[in-house]
Structures are given as C-alpha cells and as structure tokens.
C-alpha cells in the first residue's frame, strides 16, 4: 500500500491577482511555485485559461447527518462541496440529535476526515436542542477533537436577549463566535415570503425586513456591550446592510455573510408558487439585492456562504405553504457569485478569494487559508474556468437534494479541479472516486498523526 499521495503539477494557472504560475504540490503541500517547473513523477494539470483560487470555505452548510440522512449525509454533502470548489465546510448544528454535545460534533468531524472530500468543521448549537432556553455544552465542544469555534442555532433565532448576551460572553471564553440567525419569531409567525406588495397580492404570510433588522440591531449593541464577536448569518435586506455598516463604523466586532441566492434572485420568482424559491430568509426586492452586492463590494458584508439546505423531493412537491424552506447551493455558488458580482465588475477575483476562502476561514478559526500559495503550506485549491457557460441541470448536482433554484438557468463558469489537503477531489470537472479520495485522506491523516 502506497504511503504517498500523487504529486501534482498545475501548469500555467492564473492567480487571483492576475499573474500566471505553475504550482507543484507534493506530499500535500505547496512545494514550488513559478514558471517552467518540471517534475517527471507528477500528474500534470494543464491550467491554461483557468483561474487558480484558494480552496473555498463555506461557513454555512447543512449536511443533515446525523438524523436526516434522506436529505444529505456528510459524504454526499462533501462531494457536492468538492464539485463546487470547496475544500472546507462548516456543518450546521440542526441535526438529530442536535450538535449540542462533544459526542455529536466529534462524530460529524470524523466522518469528514474519513470520507476526505472536504474538511468538515462542525458548528455547535448555542442552546440545548436549539430550544433557546439553556446554553449547550459550548466548552466541551470547543475542547473536543472537533475543536468547535462557531456556535449557531441556525434555523432558529437566539431571540431571548439575556440568553444571547450570555452566549456572546460565554463563547468569548473559548475564542468562539456566535453565528446568529436573525429572525424575530413573533414578527414572522406564519411567514412564507418577503413582506411587501407581492406577498399581499399572493396572499402569502409576510416575512418583514424589520424582523431581521431589529435582531441585528439588538445583537450588535449586545456584542459591543460585552466585547464579544458576533457573526450574522444570511443577511438579506438593505436595512440590515445599513445596520452592520453603522456597527462596523463604531468598531463593533461583527462579521456578516450573504448567500449566493440573495445576491441574484428576487421575490418576483415567488409569483408562480414554485416551491424551489421558498427559502429562509426569503428572497427579497431588487433594491435589497443591489444593496447586498454593494455591501459585499465595500466590505460591510465579509463573506459569501451558501446555506446549502438539501431536502427530499416530497418536501418540495406540495403547496407553497406546506413546502420546506431551503435551497441547495454548493455546486452553483461560485458561478452565481461570478454572474452576480464579478461579471458586473463589483468584485475582482482576488476579492472572491477573500469572501469565499480567507475571510470565512478567519471567522471560523480554520488554519491554513491565510496564505494559500505560500511554500510549505497545505495545498487547498480550486481550478475554475470562468469562460465556461452551462445550462445548470440536475446532472450538476451531486448531493441528495435537487432543490436548486438555478435548474434550467444558464450560469457562467465551471470548477475543473479541486485539490484538498494536496490531493484531487475533482479532476477534469468530475468527482474523483470515493475510495480513492478516502485512501488519500487516510494517508494524509496518518502523516499528520506521525508528525504529532
């Protein structure tokens, strides 16, 4: 049995800063960069015309395991992640059992290590059972083998002000961050779509922007008061961008994410009652989309995160009110970011590398993403062809869910290769076989253990 993973030579790739280089990856690390590199043993990847991005990091993924394996598993979700160019995903805590103890988060993390398609970092629940009443075992999860640093009740808002204050203070103890799902529950009872003229016409319960903005306003003030870090999940309204901009100007330690779908899609899609467009927070107005793009461009919004939320078919094949909230997003994320903010000129590829890799890694305290092309660093890369164009279809989805809002839509770009921990998980636009990836992952893990 081989104890080495194949050496890879990436030839002629364009870096996010616009320069071209070869990259030699050996034993999982960046061995050499520059032009004219040759290596007789290496597997050559011709990257002419391709953009070499650092491995993408998703701070907001629902892998559904344990408990909802009919929707997704760590294996299927991380395969979808690899196809989208991701090398690390943060798995949300709303599983069954909930990720509120060390045992659950260690199980999820170890599944990620075993399958090897992406680094899986579990997110711990803020409260036991996501019930918003008592703090979960935050310290135990932080100090477990899963080393949890991000805590969230995502899907539910930590709406009790005192509990939120305590949570912010308590995670500070462990250098953690609370990722808040900002949704005032009373203002969103029966909510089905963005509240506005269209919800009134369609007769669907409104999800008002103020239900998000009021929680963000409260929480940035709490974060300031106790001197803790706060992260806001899936910001969706222009007003939220304003509140966060104000908070950052005051020096409050708040970070924020926007999903690809909130950068591209608007509430008008709800008109036909197609439940693929049902998501929480809901699709908003065009003014909100434009404000979110501007906020991402000027740094008010720090990162893009997918909120990949797979559901089985039957959860969407029903009337709008009965359908589940959520969209899958891992495989389409980079293409949607390209069409929403890169092709429009608002973001450079170096900005994309920041908002989809180094910044989410920094928020989640994930090492190895600060200098992706530095010699000796772990090799996590995505080779992307921004000139490609494809009609997005179910064949482009590799998780269990097909609840994508982009089916039959033409999207730019295509991930050609993904390198995780120095081995390929995607090559020539296709997934590398699961047993091959698992074997590479085992070798990397053994090498790490032997180094101590």
């Amino acid at each position: 049995m081989t104890q080495h993973i194949p050496t890879i030579l990436i030839r002629g790739a364009r870096l996010p800063d616009g320069t071209s280089t070869d990259v030699l990856v050996a034993d999982g690390h960046v061995a050499e960069t520059g032009t004219g590199i040759s290596n007789a043993k290496a597997q050559i990847i011709d990257a002419d015309g391709l953009t070499l991005l650092p491995g993408l990091v998703d701070l907001h993924t629902h892998l559904r395991e344990p408990g909802f394996e009919q929707s997704e598993t760590v294996l299927t979700g991380s395969r979808a992640a690899a196809m989208g160019g991701f090398t690390a995903v943060f798995a949300m805590a709303n599983t069954s059992p909930v990720a509120d103890t060390a045992g659950v988060v260690e199980q999820v993390a170890s599944l990620g290590v075993r399958h090897g398609y992406a680094t899986v970092r579990p997110i711990g629940a803020v409260t036991m059972g996501l019930e918003g009443e008592r703090l979960s075992e935050i310290g135990a999860m932080a100090q477990s083998r899963a080393a949890v640093g991000v805590f969230s009740d995502d899907g539910k808002c930590v709406h009790d002000a005192l509990l939120m204050r305590r949570a912010l203070e308590y995670v500070k103890t462990f250098d953690g961050v609370i990722a808040q799902h900002a949704q005032e529950p009373r203002l969103t009872e029966g909510a089905q779509m963005n509240e506005g003229a269209l919800s009134g016409e369609l007769g669907l319960g409104g999800w008002p922007a103020v239900a998000e903005e009021s929680i963000i306003a409260r929480d940035v003030l709490l974060a300031q008061h106790v001197g803790a870090r706060l992260h806001i999940c899936h910001v969706s309204t222009a007003g939220s961008v304003e509140v966060i901009r104000w908070a950052k100007a005051r020096g409050i330690a708040v970070t924020a994410e926007v999903t690809p779908h909130h950068l591209l899609l608007t509430e008008d899609l709800v008109r036909g009652y197609d439940s693929r467009y049902k998501v929480n927070p809901p699709l908003r107005r065009n003014e909100d989309v434009l404000a979110l793009r501007a906020g991402l461009a000027d740094g008010t919004i720090d990162i893009v995160a997918t909120d990949h939320a797979p559901h089985p078919l039957e959860a969407k094949e029903c009337s709008w009110a009965e359908a589940a909230f959520g969209m899958v997003g891992l495989e389409s994320a980079l293409s949607v970011v390209q069409t929403a903010v890169v092709d429009s000129g608002q973001l450079e590829w170096s900005d994309v590398a920041r908002v989809l890799s180094s910044a989410p890694a920094a928020i989640g305290r994930l090492d190895g993403y600060a200098e992706p092309f530095g010699i000796g660093n772990t090799a996590n890369f995505t080779l992307y062809d921004p000139t490609a164009s494809r009609v997005f279809g179910p064949e482009h989805l590799h998780g269990k869910g097909v609840n994508s809002p982009y089916l039959n839509r033409t999207l730019p770009g295509q991930v050609q290769a993904t390198i995780h921990n120095g081995y390929a998980t995607v090559l020539d636009g296709e997934l590398v076989a699961a047993d091959t990836v698992a074997e590479y992952a085992r070798i990397v893990q053994n090498a790490r253990l032997s180094r101590g």
């Binding site: 007769g203 439940s275 094949e317 029903c318 009110a321």
Partner: protein, 317 residues
C-alpha cells in the same frame, strides 16, 4: 379557457364573456326542468381540502344542472387527512379519469401548483386558495352588480364607473383580492376600508383607494358596499381590541345603513356574522343582495364549468 386560477389573469373580454354565459345559465333555473345535457359523460371532481358547505354545494348544483357526473372529495375523513399529499391525490384523480377538478385549499397557490404540476392534465378551477383568490365569488359578485344595474339588458355590459367599497378583513380575504382585480378590469373603482392591521402591509401596486374610516367612505356615496366576514380568531391576534369596537368602527349598523342611497347595494359573501360586521336590518333590507349572490353563484359556476369543459381549451385564463 384552460384553467380558472385567479381573476387577475382575466382580461375584459374574457370576464364579460363569462358573465354573458352565466346569463344564459341563469335562464335554466327558471325552467321546469333545471337541467342541460351539455356536460353529459364528463366527470367533475370537487376536491375540498377545506370545509365549505356553501361553495361546495353551489359547485355540485352547477355540475348537476349541466348533467356532469360529480364526485365530491372532502379532506375530512379521507386519505387526505391521513397525510396523503396533494400530488398523490391529484394523480389518483387523474388515474380515475377526472375531466375537471374544482379545488378548495387552505394554502395560497394550491390551485396554481396543481395546474402547473403535470400531476393531472384536467382543467383546474380555483374554488378558493388560502388568502389568495376566490375567482368564482368575484365573478358572481360582478354578475350580481351588473344585473342590479342593467336587469335584462345586462349582456355585453361591464361595470364602468361603479364605485364599490369593500369593508373588513382585506388582509386575509381571498374574496377581496379577486374582487379588486375583476371589478377594476370591468371598469369599477374599488375603495378598501379597514383598520390598518387588516390591510396588507403594502398595497402600492393595487389599483384601489384605501380608507380607514367607514363613515367617510359612506359619505362618498358608494354604489356598492361589500361587507366581509370577520373571523373570531383575529381578535386573539391583536388585529383589533374586541368585537364591540370592531362593530362600532367598521360594522354596517342601522345608522350607517340609513345614510346609504336607497339603490346602494349591500353585499356579503356569507356566511354573515349578524350584529358584528353587518346588522340584521342591513342584511335583510331591500338593498341587500345576499340571496341573489347565492343564486347567481350557481349560474356563474355553471358558466365556468361549461367554458372549461366544452369550449376551446387552448386559450389559457
């Protein structure tokens, strides 16, 4: 007409055409034998996921007067209440050979979902979907107004210049929504009167005027006052303080009734809460069209079933 899902999709010509066919159907009710052979051999399914004795009975009578075979499929006590999905129910009905499906559902958009799903190929008739639309109710309301205005000379006419005031729980009313679109299409002006809590948060795209005060609205001398049913459960959700205050502010009491012109129509889609949104005097006055509305409902539903099942099904409505 392919489906009838909402009045928002009806244009002026289509709307007047439905009302005119309903005039023909109304004549049948005065014959000794109240039956036409038009839909003999066609199967109509009444798919009612939500209780509604009135609308269901009205559709049943309409289908029977056209000689269609009719089956009513109620959610209560059926497989639907045992968790069967809309998809499975629809596919089952398709397999049984339904020629048209009349659907009432508590979820807004359920009729749209059924029509666009590919689960069933039959025309879909929306008999009320959540708080979205109730197109046959608006059609029967428009029909009733037209008959009061033009009597036997109604055919071909619309509601041009008519001032209609709709009072009550606009936010949760599918009747109000369907009437807003249809009456506007037919040339009427619609004025909505309600407390701000019972109006949608944003009505800027609605072709209506809005007022909070019923007395001001009555002073403007409307041709039609339509009172909507107020649901008891709204009181528990802070939409208004209590029934007494609602009745005082937005009920059609005797004093307000007196201020209406003798020929002002008082309408109500039923069932009425006498003494809450409408006084007994108003409900039983000569101005009241309540029983005409019920009778006209059968004619309208006959017309729509006829157009969906026997006519040219290419043009989508």
């Amino acid at each position: 007409m392919r489906h009838l899902l909402s009045t928002r999709d009806l244009d002026h010509t289509e709307a007047v055409a439905i009302l005119d066919v309903a005039e023909d159907m109304a004549d049948v009710a005065h014959r000794e034998i109240k039956k036409l052979p038009t839909l003999r051999g066609k199967t109509v399914i009444n798919l009612f996921f939500e209780d509604s004795t009135r609308t269901r009975t009205s559709f049943e009578l309409a289908a029977k007067r056209l000689s269609a075979d009719l089956v009513t499929f109620s959610a209560k006590g059926s497989s639907v209440s045992k968790g069967e999905s809309l998809k499975d129910t629809a596919q089952t009905l398709a397999a049984m050979g339904a020629d048209a499906v009349v659907i009432r559902h508590s979820a807004s958009g359920a009729a749209h979902t059924l029509a666009g799903s590919g689960w069933i190929n039959a025309p879909v008739l929306n008999a009320g979907d959540g708080t979205h639309e109730h197109p046959t109710q608006a059609l029967l309301d428009a029909f009733t107004m037209r008959r009061r205005l033009h009597g036997a000379a109604s055919r071909g006419k619309d509601l041009n210049g008519l001032n209609v005031t709709i009072v009550g729980d606009i936010l949760h009313s599918r009747v109000a929504r369907s009437n807003v679109w249809l009456l506007t299409t037919l040339g009427a002006h619609v004025n909505l009167v309600a407390p701000a809590t019972l109006l949608p948060a944003d009505t800027s795209t609605w072709p209506v005027t809005i007022e909070f005060d019923l007395d001001t609205a009555i002073s403007a001398n409307p041709d039609v006052v339509m009172m909507l049913r107020i649901q008891a459960e709204r009181m528990n959700a802070a939409f208004f303080p209590n029934a007494r205050e609602y009745s005082r502010q937005w009920g059609l009491d005797e004093e307000r009734l007196r201020r209406l012109r003798p020929d002002t129509m008082v309408m109500h889609p039923g069932p009425m809460n006498r003494g809450l949104e409408i006084s007994a005097n108003a409900a039983d006055s000569a101005r009241s069209t309540v029983l005409e509305q019920v009778a006209n409902g059968v004619s309208i539903r006959m017309a729509v079933l006829y157009l969906l099942l026997s006519g040219d099904r290419e043009a989508s409505v």
